[in-house]
């Protein structure tokens, strides 16, 4: 039987391996310089790795929301980032007006964004279900424009941020007293970033369990896999669409509250997260939930390491290069299966 030895996908991995090999050989030949460079940049690299992973957790959470919506409804939600901005302003107002701790305000932003998601799906996305595919994309785009500029009218373009009263020096975490910022292995870890990472991972885990273990989760996955089949066994697919959209936007509600202590908010703040989320989702395989988290961590790393390694001052450059490489060599995503 005649079979080609190298399937296209194998060839890609081979090319990648070759590139890495060449890089190693070059490094080995210029060993002295490499050692010098590593000693000089060692700490910077480690710091970038840690920061990248921490922020990557939040990217993962945002991307999970996006990928969930894509997996079930088959649309790329361009308003995802703008909805996150809504959550960020909500957290901001709750904090400055009513003194609500941002980590507590998750309890408010999540249900509020969930509700907004339901409404958006019901009144904007659902009516266009039979229209050409690109119309839904444009609807989310129109929504993004609307939200961004609504927020611009309400809050102006001035970036705003909040400052936690705690998180510097000895801080009680449960029964322990921990000295923040943490210094581990030469790197600095601040409380807000650590908290964002931990909570993001916890919430992502919760969402994953919800999808895997509950009846609702099973119904959602059934609709994602085979809409008509799901309808035949009695699942109300439109209800699932709405809930899924709500869950997806609830993810950015949580992420919004988590990043505000170390980020700023302006009417376009969430869109930075949306762009990375696109990349993350493609990287992880569109529709794959664990892939989104993995992709988030990789993108966080790429972004931070890219800044250190390349002379570019632009964080996103490395991200987009990775994006295009993935699209070209592994369009089904890292964890996706080829259809």
């Amino acid at each position: 039987m005649k079979r080609s030895i190298l399937k296209p996908t194998h060839r890609n991995w081979l090319i990648l391996a070759l590139i890495i090999l060449v890089a190693i050989v070059i490094l080995a030949l210029r060993w002295e310089q490499t050692v010098f460079w590593l000693s000089r940049y060692g700490i910077v690299l480690r710091q970038a790795t840690v920061t990248g992973l921490l922020i990557g957790g939040v990217y993962g959470l945002v991307a999970m929301g996006l990928t969930l919506i894509f997996g079930v409804l088959g649309i790329i939600n361009f308003a995802h980032g703008s909805l996150m901005t809504v959550g960020m302003y909500l957290t901001f107002v709750l904090f400055t007006r009513y003194g609500v701790d941002p980590y507590l305000s998750v309890l408010i932003t999540v249900p509020v964004l969930f509700g907004i998601g339901l409404v958006v799906q019901r009144f904007i996305i659902h009516p266009a279900r039979n229209a050409p595919e690109h119309n839904q994309l444009l609807l989310t785009l129109g929504l993004a424009l609307f939200i961004q500029n609504f927020l611009l009218v309400l809050f102006t373009a001035t970036p705003r941020s909040i400052r936690l009263a705690y998180g510097r020096g000895e801080t009680p975490i449960g029964p322990f007293m921990i000295d923040f910022p943490l210094r581990i292995w030469g790197t600095t870890i601040t409380l807000p970033k650590l908290a964002a990472f931990v909570f993001a991972l916890a919430l992502a885990g919760g969402l994953y369990l919800l999808l895997q273990r509950t009846d609702l989760g099973k119904a959602i996955r059934a609709v994602a896999q085979d809409r008509d089949g799901a309808a035949l066994v009695g699942i109300d697919t439109q209800r699932i669409n709405m809930i899924t959209f709500g869950l997806g936007t609830a993810c950015v509600g949580a992420a919004a509250a988590l990043v505000l202590p170390f980020f700023f908010v302006d009417p376009l703040a969430g869109d930075t997260f949306n762009i990375t989320a696109f990349v993350t989702v493609v990287l992880g395989g569109m529709g794959s939930i664990p892939g989104a988290m993995l992709g988030g961590l990789i993108i966080g790393l790429t972004q931070e390491l890219g800044v250190v390694l390349a002379p570019s001052s632009i964080k996103l450059l490395g991200v987009f290069i990775v994006f295009i490489l993935v699209l070209l060599f592994r369009p089904q995503g890292l964890l996706g299966v080829k259809s």
Binding site: A131, H134, L137, G142, L152, V153, I314, L327, L328
Partner: protein
Amino acid sequence: MTLLGRIPRDYLILIGLVLALLTLPSFLNQFQLSIAILILYWALLGAAWNLMGGYAGQFSFGHAAFYGIGAYTSTMLLTELGLSPWLGMLAGAGLAALFGIAMGYLTFRYGLKGPYFALATFAFAELLRLISSELKFINTSIGIHLPLTGGDSWQRLQFEDNPQNYFYAITILFFVGYLIKISLVHSKLGYYLQAIREDEDAAAALGVNLMRYKVTAVAISGGLTAIGGSFFAQYFFFISPELVFGVPISIDILLGPIIGGTGTIWGPLVGALFVTPLGELTRAFIRTPPGFLSFIEGRSGLDVMLFGAILIVVILFMPNGLVGLGKQLWARVKR
């Protein structure tokens, strides 16, 4: 309505339209003429997008890539070599077409379709924006001012004394762009592209080389878009990565054809006729609102917010664009 009867009709419409356009400067004031210029300019860009996004069905969300290549190529050739922008335009179109071929080949080879393809085009445009923001020889993210030479010059495509010449210039470009579009749509290429849009497997089984025709569509669409970018540079006298490679350009380019009607000859023009004045009107409305709404006066963002809302409403109620709606109504009247 036979096909044989339809071919000359679009040409006739175009010629009649352009002849009518040429008389416009004697009726319109400065402001109205500037809107007319914008309409033709967006109609040209929309037509370019439509060849790829509408006819070939390859939805692009990154046409800013081609647009920016056009703007920067003609500008650099002008500032560095003193080359006429008309030649710069051709060079820009050529470069953008080459870029389109490379991008198309890479993405289609891996079978990217639908949302994946849209995201890929988006990423390519963003990549160009980020890279151009770093390049020293095009003055990084700061951008480039085009040299003002004063007076009118067709060769340098600058009209300080008689701005209506810009109108004639864009009318020429519009004419050429639509001529190319109409002749392509009514050729074998046009049929093949639509076949590919409708069903790739069926098209291939009828002897259509998918890769070749899809890449051709991207290249032509990209080249025409670049011409629009060059015109913008000449008209606005300033370009920057943010301005010409940014996401807003990609969005604005596709709005016209989507609202007018994708995959139709006149949809992009109809769309531009609708979208451009709408943008201007909302802006004017915010600038001088009626008395009872005086509190919104001059609020930045309100215009785009309104625009976003209108966009949503338009897409919800006219899923096939204005031309689609017109056809539907026409069919009902006939019955």
